[in-house]
Symmetry: C2
Subunit: 191 residues, 2 copies
């Protein structure tokens, strides 16, 4: 049995940085307990303060709580491999971003900025030992159809949220990922 942060101890820093970024990871093991609204709101509150061009805030979060009337619809969007562990989630979220401004002109940075909001959400979850796990393996078109997502919103990602299950995390052999080196992501001057 290991705690949430303990699993990240093997990550190697290349440069000094606040541990909060190293401690965030994406567990799959959840208990099935329904988290209360205060917990969810603290996650969305973090997301809310992300930066955006002209403070446009293109991020939106569609939310279903375990066993509410939308739960089966959300759950059925998932690919089979993700259903296996998402069955123990408390909430499922679909992240979308608004592709246009009020005046209907295009807003090119909608996805990038929605990603910023998601990262705030993920870090806040990590700070309170709540599992959030971003999911790309779901049916994007079905999500649009079933959740009536308008054409001027892009479907970005799903998120599973839940209480961390300390007892299952080893059993499920969750692996902590490393990263590319700094030299692979930094380009001095020009390609």
């Amino acid at each position: 049995m290991v705690n949430y942060v303990e699993k990240t101890r093997k990550r190697v820093k290349e440069a000094d940085v606040n541990d909060l970024f190293i401690h965030r990871w994406s567990p799959r093991a959840m208990t099935g307990k329904v988290l209360n609204d205060d917990v969810l709101n603290t996650l969305f509150e973090a997301a809310r303060w992300a930066p955006s061009s002209m403070n446009n805030q293109p991020w939106r979060f569609l939310v279903s709580k375990r066993n509410d009337k939308h739960w089966d619809t959300y759950f059925d969007l998932l690919m089979e491999g993700n259903k296996v562990w998402c069955k123990d989630a408390s909430h499922l979220i679909v992240v979308v971003s608004k592709k246009t401004l009020e005046n209907c002109s295009e807003y090119p940075s909608h996805s990038f900025e929605a990603g910023s909001a998601w990262q705030n959400l993920a870090l806040q979850a990590s700070l309170i030992n709540v599992v959030v796990h971003g999911i790309g393996g779901f049916d994007y078109e079905k999500a649009r159809e079933k959740l009536n997502i308008p054409e001027d919103y892009k479907v970005e990602m799903m998120i599973a949220v839940g209480e961390y299950n300390k007892n299952l995390s080893d059993e499920k052999q969750e692996k902590i990922s490393g990263r590319k080196s700094l030299s692979e992501i930094i380009i001095n001057g020009s390609f």
Copy 2:
């Protein structure tokens, strides 16, 4: 004269959340001092640990240090209104995201995930009172041309990095932004 965080005191939380998300903002006032490489590396180290689908890490950062051989090229990408304050930056960065996987297939979440990495960078900067300010007001196509950015990378954003100038921040009338309410960004179940 106010310090970096002091300016955010008027922000109103709707739900409990770690102050780090509230304290991050986007100053323009910088001193013109060149920050050392350790400072830059701590920002990129934070970015490096962002999550991505299959750990693909599509984010890349092109970097120019004040007065290095690329500085004028970077600076000339900026719209005139941004040159006014970016002249006091220490570094200018162009964020790009890789649109394809190793096997050349499309990778749809590249922008979203680059936004996550940027948010880590921004939060780490805030934690050490370094200015980072995301910029959409620059010539994207000229950036691609002048920095030889390949077609399979999307140009996402520029970032100005610098030492915070406490003495200028009031003078320049920098305003602290609020946010939409939680009820505007959360959708229960379905649109």
